[in-house]
């Protein structure tokens, strides 16, 4: 293969493409920039969280509310979903039948939903303890940071559903492939953010 077909960042899709490769390069590049901007948003949420750690104002604090067990389960689920998304990428490249692609996307979707379920259960437990965001600056910061990640995962799940429908409608045409690459970047990005949440929020809150 010549250099030009491999010019775009991300998974090289070795098959005849309707759109010229520079379109793919541009589309992926733009999405990287979007992720960079999103990363700034999360960085600031972490910074706010850091400044508000001590602002518990008599409401339940980290030691009382954070449980390492559920957080670890969520971590394992989300990291596994990144693996299964990666497997869907390999299926996209090597499997012409689309069955494995759809299968791995479906597994990823289920893992994403499972993650959200566990996370919502955590929040419900906290609400049950009276740890609601209007109680203190600390809880406000927590409920801004962690649910923002959760909303991103929810958006990713909706995106997977949209992509599954698109695969049904259009097959794996150039646009679908490009969108799957972008969705992959998004999904892995959320993993990285979660690692930071796990370390800074849950590990620090329970062990620190």
């Amino acid at each position: 293969m010549s250099g030009s077909t491999q010019a775009h960042i991300g998974l090289h899709l070795d098959s005849p493409d309707q759109s010229p490769p520079e379109d793919a390069e541009l589309g992926i590049y733009g999405f990287w920039i979007f992720l960079m901007s999103d990363a700034v948003l999360f960085a600031l949420l972490f910074a706010i969280y850091g400044t508000q750690l001590a602002a518990t104002a008599g409401a339940p604090g980290p030691a009382a509310e954070f449980k390492l067990g559920p957080a670890l389960t969520e971590t394992v689920i989300l990291l596994t979903s990144s693996l299964t998304y990666g497997l869907s990428g390999i299926a996209l490249k090597y499997d012409r039948t689309r069955t494995t692609l759809v299968l791995w996307l479906g597994v990823t979707l289920l893992l994403g939903l499972a993650f959200l379920g566990f996370e919502l259960h955590d929040f419900a437990t906290m609400f049950g303890d009276g740890a609601t965001p209007d109680r203190s600056g600390f809880l406000s910061a927590f409920f801004a940071l962690v649910p923002t990640h959760g909303l991103h995962v929810a958006a990713g799940c909706i995106w997977i559903v949209v992509m599954l429908i698109q695969i049904g409608v259009h097959g794996t045409d150039a646009r679908v492939k490009l969108d799957l690459l972008r969705l992959g970047l998004f999904w892995h990005f959320l993993d990285i953010i979660w690692i930071a949440i796990f370390s800074i929020v849950y590990l620090q809150g329970t062990l620190g």
């Binding site: 390069e25 960079m36 700034v40 508000q52 965001p133 600056g137």
Partner: protein, 700 residues
């Protein structure tokens, strides 16, 4: 369900007192009547606009040719139209404020304190987010693809969505005149004053959601421009061969990508406080308003350079073109631009020296702030050296550029003064500060935008703007500026606080009188700009420049017809050095047919942009008034439009090679039979857009 609950579910907080007309009826004092008149202007303006569109049968062209267009040139023009409308409103507000202060020395004046606070809040919000940002985004949109030899921006649909989100935000600010009220918390909206405890009304909510729409649009614009400049340059257009305007556009885009998220977050967290009772910035339960101040100025200071850098780019282009010389110190200008962009993230704290940091922290940020004066000084010298021994022509854009250099240096010097924390402690929160930032933003932003508008107008519309009226307008903008703002330096040093509705010291009166005269002259500057536009449209047949190069230009944007075809370039050019088109002309390679023409693929129009922008504005309006069904449906509609669009595959159409060839050849034939115009006659109707070559200068 009780009536009250049903009413709340349907209309939220809306009631008759939301209308300024009702308030003026019940309480007919001058301040309320001025408010009602302003609301009436919005309503009457909207009615007149609808009537005009219907009468002229412009609805179809408005939507099919403009609002749904993905052409970067049309999107750029629409941005500038928004800027013009919003500039008019915010300038009238400025005149009203100056009038109030000049009349309010130990007297009530004409507007009540609450009303005055809304005036300075909307004035600042509009000037920054809905005048300056759309203006510079519009210019970048129009010019950058042409300068780098591209057919469009990287993501045309995203571009349309950005425009419409910005338009939605601007619309929301206009609606606040006729329905409800605006924030009284200033353009920076500091909590805890903007929290629910102190301002339970809709004012801060209008501010929050208008800003949010605008900042989302701006983030997406920054992404789009950065991808365009990095990935869509024509062959040979290395980064160090780009016109300087592209460099400033690139730095501005990078700043947008990194600096808009703090603003989005600040407004979102403030909204959480106001709507859901969170405690980010409240006085009680662990809230910390310093977090807001830091977030806001983490955005706010880079924002200053988002605003000023594109204007620096315009001045670089204008000074080079009207001095007939290559830009002096091109590489040093690039380095200076980049240095300013990076340093802009290291100085945000100077906006709140007085808010409790230690002296050492203040000293660090003070020194960092002064450091920015160094690259800026480099630029000033580069512009002066560009003019040195050039063949200068003082057209209106050039006049604005020269006035900028001198006036901006004054503003920069007062900036360095304010960067010294002890001085800042003395004049902080006084009109000295107001004088300073107008002294940098009016020359450093507005003069640049006006210069850019006048410079590229003939390219966009195919005829020159009246230079006579341009010079009248220039005179008003310069004289008006000095009269309006130099007195504020004196008043600030004399201890006059900013944002005051009533003045107690009679010694301030003469200075305030001079300032209000200056404000009226600035208004005359705006009016003459509109007169210039009307006169120029009327006389357009005498001023046409169809060949497309009225100023003996140097960049690729001048190498195509005026107005440019939809696809910009019939064949993508290959460039070999800086000032590509100048050297095409010098080497005799300009206005030559291509060996072959190929089909050109352009994006089809799309309704997604207007739908997303409209739905976003509806969602925001619902949020302001707590109308749940409205905000949910607006939100859902915007996303459904985007998802539905992702299923559409038929998004492009092809312009056949034969058509491209025919258009290009007829333009080349026109160029061949057009009489070239020497530079000295470029302000006359002899200028048909073909510049006479100056072979002697090539050797120099």
């Amino acid at each position: 369900m009780t009536d009250a609950a049903l009413r709340y579910a349907l209309l939220g907080r809306l009631d008759a007192h939301a209308l300024p007309f009702v308030r003026a009826w019940e309480n007919p004092n001058l301040s309320e009547i001025i408010g009602a008149a302003a609301g009436a202007m919005v309503v009457i303006g909207a009615v007149v606009l609808v009537a005009l569109l219907t009468w002229m049968r412009w609805w179809r062209p408005l939507f099919l040719d403009w609002l749904t267009s993905l052409d970067h040139k049309k999107i750029g023009i629409m941005y500038i139209v928004i800027a013009g409308v919003m500039l008019s409103r915010a300038l009238i507000e400025a005149v009203l404020m100056r009038a109030q202060q000049s009349l309010a020395v130990n007297a009530p004046g004409i507007v009540a304190p609450e009303h005055f606070a809304q005036l300075f809040s909307t004035h600042g919000t509009i000037m920054i987010f809905f005048m300056a940002m759309p203006f510079l985004t519009g210019l970048i949109n129009y010019v950058v693809p042409l300068q780098i030899g591209a057919r469009d921006v990287a993501f045309p649909l995203l571009n349309s969505i950005s425009l419409m989100l910005t338009a939605g935000g601007a619309g929301l600010v206009m609606i606040s005149l006729a329905i409800g009220e605006f924030s009284t918390g200033g353009w920076s909206g500091y909590p805890p004053y903007t929290e629910r405890a102190f301002q339970p009304g809709v004012g801060p909510d209008y501010w929050i959601w208008a800003i949010t729409l605008s900042s989302l649009g701006t983030t997406l614009s920054g992404l789009n421009f950065a991808a365009t400049i990095y990935k869509k340059r024509c062959p040979g257009m290395y980064l160090t061969r780009m016109p300087l305007f592209c460099w400033t556009a690139l730095c501005t885009s990078i700043l947008m990508i990194f600096a808009m998220p703090p603003l989005t977050l600040a407004t979102a967290l403030l909204a959480l406080d106001r709507y859901l009772g969170f405690h980010f910035f409240t006085n009680d339960l662990g809230g910390n308003m310093m977090n807001y101040v830091n977030l806001f100025w983490l955005f706010g200071h880079p924002e200053v350079y988002i605003l000023i850098l594109p204007a620096f780019g315009v001045f670089s282009e204008v000074i080079s073109a009207f001095s007939s010389k290559e830009l002096y110190g091109y590489k040093s200008l690039i380095i200076a631009t980049m240095a300013i962009a990076v340093l802009s993230f290291t100085v945000w704290l100077h906006h709140f020296f007085t808010m409790g940091q230690s002296a050492n922290v203040n000293a660090f940020f003070g020194v960092a702030t002064m450091t920015i004066a160094v690259p800026t000084g480099v630029k000033v010298y580069d512009w002066i050296w560009t003019m040195f021994r050039g063949e200068l022509r003082f057209t209106p854009p050039m006049l604005f550029s020269v006035a900028f250099i001198m006036t901006f240096v004054l503003g920069g010097i007062t900036g360095v003064m304010l960067a010294i924390p002890p001085i800042d402690f003395v004049v902080h929160n006084s009109v000295f500060l107001v004088a300073h930032f107008h002294n940098v933003l009016i020359p450093g932003l507005l003069y640049g935008m006006i210069a850019g508008y006048q410079y590229w107008f003939p390219k966009a519309f195919g005829f020159r703007l009246s230079e006579g009226w341009g010079k009248v307008s220039f005179g008003c903008w310069v004289v008006g500026f000095y009269l309006a703002f130099m007195p504020l330096y004196v008043l600030g040093l004399g201890g006059m606080a900013r944002r005051t509705q009533s003045i107690l010291d009679p010694d301030f009166q003469p200075w305030l009188t001079v300032a209000v005269i200056g404000a009226f002259i600035l208004l005359a500057g705006l009016v003459t700009l509109f007169v210039q536009l009307v006169v120029s449209v009327r006389d357009r047949e005498q001023n046409r420049v169809p060949v497309g190069d009225p100023w003996d230009g140097r960049g690729l944007e001048w190498s195509i017809p005026a107005p440019p075809p939809e696809y910009n370039f019939a064949t993508i050019p290959t460039v070999h050095r800086l000032d590509a088109f100048y050297w095409f002309k010098a080497d005799g390679r300009a206005y030559k047919p291509a060996a072959t023409y190929t089909d050109i693929v352009v994006p089809k129009n799309s309704w997604v942009g207007p739908i997303v922008g409209g739905a976003g504005a509806v969602c925001a309006f619902g949020l302001v008034w707590h109308i749940g069904w409205m905000s949910l449906s607006g939100f859902a509609l915007a996303w459904l439009a985007v998802i539905a669009r992702s299923f559409v595959r038929d998004t492009h159409r092809t312009i056949p090679a034969a058509e491209v060839k025919a258009r290009e050849e007829s333009w080349l034939a026109l160029a061949a039979r057009t009489r070239p115009v020497p530079r000295q006659l470029e302000e006359s109707s002899a200028n048909l857009g073909l510049a006479e070559p100056y072979p002697a200068e090539v050797a120099a």
